[in-house]
C-alpha cells in the first residue's frame, strides 16, 4: 500500500463491499426509525399515520421499560462476572499438565457448540424442573424442598444458563493467553519470593488483561441481545421479572402486533448498546493498546 497508485486501486477494490455493507445496515436502520414514528399496528392495517414521538413516549411510560432496562444490564453484568472469573480459573486449571488433558479440554469447550434454544431447554427440563429435574432430585435426596428456579429466581437462572454457554468461549481465549505467558517471567517471580497467589495477582492477571478485555467486549455484543434462552424458558416472566430489552421489543411488535412501538424499542436498544460500548471502551479500551 505504498504508492498513490496502489492506494487508489485498493480503494476501488474494497468499495463494492463497503457499499453493500452500508446498504445492509442503513436500510433496516432507516426503516426502523421510520416505523417508530408511525402508528403502525398489524391488527389495524391501513390506518398507519405519522404520530411523532408518541411511540417513544408510550414505550418509556410502559412499566416494564425500566425493569427490562435493569434486567438487560443485570444479565450482561452477571454473565460477564461469572464467565470472566470462571474462565480465568478454568483456564489456569486447564493449563496444568494432567492426565486426559485433551478430552477435558474438548468437554469444556462443548457447551459453546450447543445452540441456545437447545441448551436452555435442556437446563429447563432436565435440571431446573421442580418435579423431574436433576436439581429437584438432589434436593429430595438430602430431604429439602425442591426449588423452582424459573419461578422464584428467573433472572438468576437465565444468567446461569447463558453463563454456561459462554464460559467455554472465555476459557478458550484466556487459556491461549495464559499459554503465551513467558515461563521465565514466572520463574523470575518465584525467585523473587512471590507466593503462588502474588504470582497470579502480579504476573498472570496483568498478562491476561488484554484477553479479558477482548472477552468482555465480544460477549457484551452478544449478551445485549439474549433472546432465545428467555423465550424457551420463562417467556419473560413471571410478570416481567426476566424480560430484557430484546424480549420487550419482541413482545411489543409480535405479541401486541404494535410494530411502531417495537421499532421505538429497537431504537432505544441501539442507544443503550452504544452507551454501554462507550463506557466499556472508556474503562478497559486502553488495555487493547500495545
Amino acid at each position: 500500500m505504498a504508492t498513490q497508485h496502489s492506494r487508489s486501486a485498493a480503494r476501488i477494490m474494497i468499495s463494492p463491499a463497503v457499499v453493500l455493507l452500508l446498504a445492509w445496515m442503513i436500510v433496516p436502520l432507516v426503516l426502523t426509525v421510520y416505523f417508530s414514528l408511525l402508528r403502525y399496528n398489524l391488527l389495524m392495517p391501513g390506518t398507519e399515520r405519522f404520530v411523532g414521538f408518541l411511540n417513544y413516549k408510550l414505550f418509556y411510560q410502559n412499566p416494564a421499560f425500566w425493569t427490562a432496562m435493569l434486567n438487560t444490564l443485570l444479565l450482561v453484568g452477571g454473565v460477564l462476572i461469572v464467565t470472566v472469573v470462571g474462565g480465568v480459573l478454568l483456564a489456569i486449571l486447564l493449563d496444568q499438565p494432567m492426565w486426559g488433558q485433551g478430552i477435558v479440554r474438548i468437554l469444556v469447550i462443548a457447551p459453546f457448540f450447543v445452540m441456545p434454544t437447545v441448551s436452555a431447554l435442556v437446563w429447563k427440563n432436565m435440571f431446573m424442573n421442580p418435579v423431574s429435574g436433576l436439581f429437584a432430585e438432589f434436593s429430595k435426596a438430602v430431604g429439602l424442598q425442591p426449588f423452582d428456579f424459573l419461578t422464584h429466581a428467573p433472572l438468576a437462572s437465565i444468567i446461569g444458563i447463558v453463563s454456561w454457554q459462554w464460559l467455554p468461549f472465555a476459557t478458550l481465549i484466556l487459556l491461549t493467553a495464559i499459554q503465551s505467558l513467558d515461563s521465565e517471567q514466572m520463574e523470575a517471580a518465584e525467585m523473587d519470593g512471590a507466593s503462588p497467589l502474588s504470582r497470579f495477582w502480579y504476573i498472570t492477571l496483568p498478562h491476561l488483561s488484554r484477553a479479558i478485555t477482548v472477552v468482555i467486549l465480544i460477549q457484551t455484543i452478544f449478551l445485549l441481545s439474549v433472546f432465545a434462552e428467555i423465550l424457551v424458558t420463562t417467556n419473560g416472566g413471571p410478570g416481567n421479572a426476566s424480560t430484557n430489552l430484546t424480549y420487550l421489543v419482541y413482545a411489543r411488535s409480535l405479541l401486541n402486533f404494535d410494530v411502531g412501538g417495537g421499532s421505538a424499542g429497537g431504537v432505544v436498544a441501539i442507544i443503550l448498546a452504544n452507551i454501554v460500548a462507550i463506557f466499556l471502551m472508556r474503562m478497559i479500551g486502553k488495555n487493547l493498546d500495545a
Partner: protein, 334 residues
C-alpha cells in the same frame, strides 16, 4: 556469604540422566563460569542450584545449610535470565522493587536500594519507563538491578549476554566483571561462549553431557587441558588436534598445538603447506593451512604484519614445549 556445595547431585528427566552424580564446590566470592556446548546440562545445573528444578538425588548446601528442598525464594540467590524475564506491565522502578515488595521491606529502604542500584547501573533516567521502551542492554541492566537489590548470597546468570549484539556484549561483560569486583559476591555464570568464560571467570567448569570435564582457572585450562575435549573447547581459534603417524612420533595418539604456538617461516620448518583462507583481524592474522601431509587442516595465528597471502607456500614449526599429548582415551599424558 555464598559458599555453594554440590554433593553427588543427579538429575533425571524420566529415564534420561541429564546430570550424572556431580560434585562441585563454589567458594564464597568466586566468579564461576559453567561452559560447554549447547545441551551439555549447564543451564539445568544452574536451575538445580536456583531451585527451579528438583534434584533427583544428592544434596545442595548453601553456606553449609542443606538447601536441596528449599523453595527458590528461600535460598537467598538471585537469577538473571536469558530473556531478562522483566515484568512488561511494570515500570523499571516497580520491576526492581518487586522482590523487596514481596519480602515486605519498608518503603524508604526499598527506595534507598532502588536509587543505589539505579545509580550503579546508569538507570536513573529510565526508572519510570516500561521494559518495552528500553534497549536490550538497558533491559539487561534492569534485570541485574532486580537481582542486586535483594543483596543475595550469590548471583546466577543464565546466558545473560546471548541476546545482545557483539559490541554491547563486550561492554556488558566488562560491567558484570566490575560489578563482581565491587560487590565481591559469589557469581555463577552460564555460557556457551568460551571467550566470556576466559575473560570473566575466576574458575571455569567445563561440562559435557552433564559431566564435569575439568575445573580450573582460565589459564590452567588453557595451559593444561585435561583431555582433548577441553583442549578443543578452550581457546580461540581452536587448538589443532593432530592424530596418526605425526602424533605417534611424540609417543601419543593425539597431539595438540595451539595456533599461536606454531612458528611460520617462508623457508624452512617441520611441515610444509599451502595457505587456504587468511583471516586478517588487523592485530592478528589467522591462516588455514592445507596440504601439510597431515589429515587435518592446521590453523595458525600470526601477527597482523606477516605478508603472506592465499596460495603461498609456508613452513610451520610447532614450539616443542607447547605440544600437548593425549592418549587413546583422549586423556592428557603428563
Amino acid at each position: 556469604m555464598g559458599r555453594i556445595t554440590l554433593d553427588k547431585v543427579t538429575k533425571k528427566f524420566g529415564d534420561v540422566e541429564v546430570i550424572p552424580p556431580l560434585d562441585l564446590t563454589i567458594e564464597d566470592g568466586e566468579f564461576v563460569v559453567f561452559v560447554g556446548p549447547s545441551g551439555c546440562g549447564k543451564s539445568t545445573l544452574l536451575r538445580l542450584i536456583a531451585g527451579l528444578e528438583d534434584v533427583t538425588d544428592g544434596e545442595i548446601r548453601i553456606d553449609g545449610q542443606p538447601a536441596t528442598d528449599l523453595p527458590p525464594a528461600k535460598r537467598g540467590l538471585a537469577m538473571v535470565f536469558q530473556s531478562y524475564a522483566l515484568y512488561p506491565h511494570m515500570s523499571v522502578r516497580k520491576n526492581i522493587a518487586f522482590p523487596m515488595k514481596m519480602a515486605g521491606m519498608p518503603e524508604d529502604e526499598q527506595k534507598r536500594r532502588i536509587d543505589n542500584a539505579a545509580r550503579a547501573l546508569n538507570l536513573t533516567d529510565y526508572l519510570d519507563r516500561r521494559p518495552g521502551q528500553l534497549s536490550g542492554g538497558q533491559r539487561q541492566r534492569v534485570a541485574i538491578g532486580r537481582a542486586i537489590v535483594r543483596e543475595p548470597a550469590a548471583f546466577l546468570f543464565d546466558e545473560p549476554l546471548s541476546n545482545l549484539d557483539a559490541a554491547l556484549r563486550v561492554g556488558m561483560r566488562l560491567e558484570i566483571s566490575e560489578l563482581h569486583k565491587r560487590l565481591d559476591t559469589t557469581m555463577i555464570y552460564v555460557t556457551h561462549d568460551q571467550v566470556e568464560a576466559m575473560t570473566m571467570a575466576d574458575k571455569i567448569v567445563v561440562l559435557r553431557a552433564g559431566n564435569i570435564e575439568q575445573v580450573g582457572s582460565p589459564l590452567e585450562l588453557y595451559r593444561n587441558p585435561r583431555n582433548t575435549f577441553v583442549a578443543g573447547f578452550i581457546g580461540s581459534p581452536k587448538m589443532n588436534l593432530i592424530e596418526g603417524a605425526e602424533a605417534r612420533k611424540h609417543g601419543a595418539e593425539t597431539i595438540g598445538v595451539r595456533p599461536e604456538h606454531i612458528d611460520v617461516s617462508a623457508s624452512e620448518g617441520t611441515w610444509k603447506g599451502r595457505i587456504g583462507v587468511a583471516e586478517h583481524l588487523g592485530s592478528d592474522t589467522f591462516f588455514h593451512v592445507h596440504d601439510t601431509g597431515l589429515a587435518e587442516t592446521l590453523t595458525i595465528r600470526a601477527s597482523g604484519e606477516v605478508g603472506l597471502r592465499h596460495g603461498d607456500t609456508v613452513f610451520l614449526t610447532p614450539q616443542a614445549d607447547k605440544i600437548h599429548r593425549f592418549d587413546a582415551q583422549g586423556l592428557r599424558i603428563a
